[in-house]
Amino acid sequence: MRRGITLPLLTVAAIVASLFVAISPAQAHGYISSPASRQAMCAQGRVANCGDIVYEPQSVEAPKGSMQCNGGGTRFAVLNDNSRNWPTTSVGQNVTFSWVLTARHATSTWEYFVGGTRIAVFDDGGRQPAANVSHNVNLGGRTGRITVLARWNIADTINAFYACVDLQVGGGGGNPPPTTQPPAPACGNAWSASAVYTAGALVSHNGRRWQAQWWTQGETPGTTGEWGVWRDQGACG
């Protein structure tokens, strides 16, 4: 009888199979965190109602060659929506773009575009990138509000990763204009010591809005610390 052997083997096979089913589709990847790309704006909660991108800002992957912020196709189309009033980051003529990488795929090139013109390219020659990737890019005298499209071209697949970064470019010296700030939101419901709140719930307390990060009851907003249950969402009016 081989049954004693067969079962464990099946178990291992099941584990491996479930791993690939569950993990492989993401496999995951990278995006620009600084200055914040559109997917980073969504993932950090500065732009609301972005859809699934908040779970995986690193996964804006599509065939090479697109000039769209989502790389073309239907997924993450919110990233192409210029009516979203994407917040800008104030910068000078030289900008350091830094990436979050969750898998370090062999890389052909990193490209940066403004308005259809390629303004910088970095050739990795098919090597695996370093643990930290950042590129210094000169904006070539452009000023005002611009959107930079970055493409990370993978060497051994047909795909690239896409990220759009909205910038407010100053003249070079002096103080850059302030980053766009949305008006203070309405305060909404006041926090109650007896109520139960679950992740995502919004309350007001002492003129500020607070968002619950998980289930809570009887914990006062403002007393739970930076990593506690109540996350400060700023002033409200």
Binding site: I15, A22, Q27, A28, E56, T102, H105, A131, W214
Partner: protein
């Protein structure tokens, strides 16, 4: 099957010390992978605490290291209670087949250790964010395919708290 107590102040605090026996392969693999995922994170956070220039970055590295150590102890207890190994051979093979996951290994941490102080904070935050995205992926796998209620609750809270951490980390790196 007693219900799991909700988290009081952090994902690490309110995890029950005991765990139901009923489980499937995903539950076991999830816990093993979280342990494997926490190991390089502990080294990364130690480096962040000693080398970061910004006080807020050092502070959060310390907070996360504490939470992670507590969670590691609990998960180790659960796997031991089940009589399951802490390390799965299946998952090491799977990592190799991924062509590079995890992104955070000894070599990458050593490389970060050699980063100059001007670039260190950004580099550290980006590596930590990338690593935390992996935790979200693991948690969502367990939420979809797991069985054990305590483990699924851990996964739910890992997903929520880790995404909240990523929010905060992205704000720090962008600001």
């Amino acid at each position: 099957m007693a219900p799991v107590a909700p988290a009081a102040t952090s994902a690490a605090v309110a995890l029950p010390a005991t765990v139901d026996g009923a489980r499937n392969a995903t539950d076991v693999m999830f816990l093993q992978m979280v342990l494997a995922h926490h190991e390089p994170a502990a080294a990364l956070l130690e480096l962040g605490q000693s080398k970061a220039t910004r006080a807020d970055v050092r502070g959060l590295a310390g907070d996360l290291a504490t939470a992670l150590a507590a969670e590691t102890r609990t998960i180790t207890g659960w796997l031991e209670a089940w009589g399951e190994p802490l390390v799965s051979t299946a998952h090491a093979d799977a990592h190799a087949a991924h062509g590079g996951l995890p992104a955070l290994g000894d070599k990458e941490i050593a490389e970060l250790g050699r980063t100059g102080s001007a670039e260190f904070d950004t580099a550290f935050l980006n590596m930590l964010i990338g690593h935390q995205h992996g935790a979200v992926e693991l948690a969502r796998m367990e939420a979809t395919s797991g069985q054990n209620p305590q483990v699924k609750e851990l996964a739910k809270r890992t997903d929520e708290t880790t995404r909240a951490q990523i929010q905060q980390l992205l704000r720090m790196v962008a600001g």
